[in-house]
């Protein structure tokens, strides 16, 4: 996906899969609320989610935004970066800003097997 396509897609997402946890163990995963505004990324988690207690400032996180209404409409953007907890989110759902380091994306609609491309 191009940068514009990724930007449009992320603007349409309100939920993300959040993956985190220390090395040497299976990663933790959670469903979070996704916040995106012109390149600024953040996510919120349930206050008692095990990830919240494990995630310190500067820890590595993967945030996945995806849609899959049908096979050729599958789109996904994976954002890898560093998390920083917002201090003003202590009373509500814990919210973390994500300093994005790497982006991986795919769009099954672009597969050569997609009959709609013909």
């Amino acid at each position: 996906m191009s940068e514009d396509e990724i930007d449009r897609f992320l603007c349409s997402r309100s939920t993300a899969i959040v993956v985190a946890g220390p090395a040497g163990a299976a990663p933790l995963g959670a469903v979070g609320d996704f916040h995106y505004d012109t390149g600024t990324v953040a996510f919120s988690l349930h206050p008692a989610d095990p990830i919240v207690g494990q995630l310190g400032d500067g820890d590595r996180v993967c945030c996945i935004a995806e849609q899959f209404p049908s096979y050729y409409e599958i789109k996904s953007v994976m954002l890898h970066g560093y998390a920083t907890r917002r201090r003003d989110s202590d009373r509500g759902a814990p919210t973390f800003d994500l300093d994005v380091d790497k982006v991986v994306s795919f769009d099954f609609g672009k597969l050569t097997s997609n009959p709609a491309r013909a």
């Binding site: 993956v19 299976a26 933790l28 995963g29 959670a30 609320d33 349930h46 008692a48 899959f68 996904s76």
Partner: protein
Amino acid sequence: MNAAVDHTASAEEAVRFLADHPHVYLLGRRADGYPTGYAMMSRAHDGVVDFSTYRASAKVRNLEREGVAAILAVSKDDDRALWASGDVSVHDGALWNAERPRVGSDATFRPDVPQGIIEKVADRHEAGKRCVLRVTLREARFVDRPA
């Protein structure tokens, strides 16, 4: 509310939830150390969760290196999600086709996948290009979404 986020699930509960919600995220770690997730279709049965993937993929290399993986299954019907983890093993691709009649037909397993893609995947399992990536479950719990 906060105290209710972590609910241990039995192996049977985990397999049942995964079988009902086969679109999952397979969680592992990349070679550069980043945690990551792969959106995949799964087959859960007998305490294990199987995935079809290319033998030469980075995903297989990453999960073999770590030896452990986690799975996150999300329900569209309610607010629950299931997190589970276990040991990773890699198996011959023919296992995927051999187990299909016992652990579910393609009609119910992959409702959105075109038939041509299903047949191509089956061929690549027989040819050894695809393998079965298996997670043997050790731990599982239900987790809640943000309120």
